[in-house]
Symmetry: C2
Subunit: 141 residues, 2 copies
């Protein structure tokens, strides 16, 4: 994860390198588990006991707005966060909720008419299914 968002720029708010933010960034760095805010709160609280939920959410929202972090909507129960902002897709096990990265570039295009009416910013492919662990365990819901 880069740290561009901490650099001072004229006429834009300055992002302060607080220990809480650094702890969150550190936890997220290279993390491919697509944690929820609660996961992040629990993990970071261990090392930083005064951490509050408000700070976790404030930080995540700030990072998401600055493009340092991707908010995933693939889990219907809660937002998940992905420090990998490169183009990639996801696969979710509908039994256990585990999310896995699909690193390959999949080229998808909009049909012509829509493409003309719409300024396309990006796309995301969601794959749904059962992971091998859940299948082995015989889970059905």
């Amino acid at each position: 994860m880069n740290t561009k968002h901490f650099q001072k720029r004229d006429s834009s708010p300055q992002f302060k390198r607080t220990p809480q933010r650094l702890a969150i960034l550190d936890y997220l760095k290279g993390n491919t588990s697509h944690p929820s805010a609660d996961d992040i709160y629990r993990a970071v609280s261990k090392k930083y006991q005064s951490m509050s939920f408000a700070t976790v959410y404030n930080t995540l929202n700030t990072l998401a707005k600055s493009g340092t972090l991707r908010e995933l909507t693939i889990d219907p129960k809660r937002k998940r966060y992905d420090p990998d902002t490169s183009r990639h897709h996801h696969l979710i096990c509908v039994l256990c909720g585990k999310i896995v990265d699909i690193p390959e570039g999949i080229t998808v295009d909009l049909p012509g008419k829509l493409a003309r009416d719409f300024t396309l910013l990006g796309n995301h492919v969601e794959f749904y299914g059962h992971c091998s662990l859940c299948t082995r365990k015989g889970k059905t819901s």
Copy 2:
């Protein structure tokens, strides 16, 4: 929308054709607006004033489980419901939240290794961007 879920079958719960459910199904039939539970509640309440939120949610969950309805997670703020259960994708305007169907079949495959470890049930492509109306209005957030 079909009505298979109302047919009586041994050893499976029977779905009763209550006026509330029929009103919801009627509202949803052919509806391409991808309404939220609240949208549905407000629309159906007009014609059926005693409708409650609990009934809307119970019905939507029942229909989703029976496969009569698709729950969309594309909107981070709330679930959206789609009576069109055929394979198709969606495009969301990140400014106004409008969701549009992408009727074309887009073929997307999982890389081999993952495909072996995962029982694939389906996939869904989300397109993000700005719709022409928002662009014309000069919206930026």
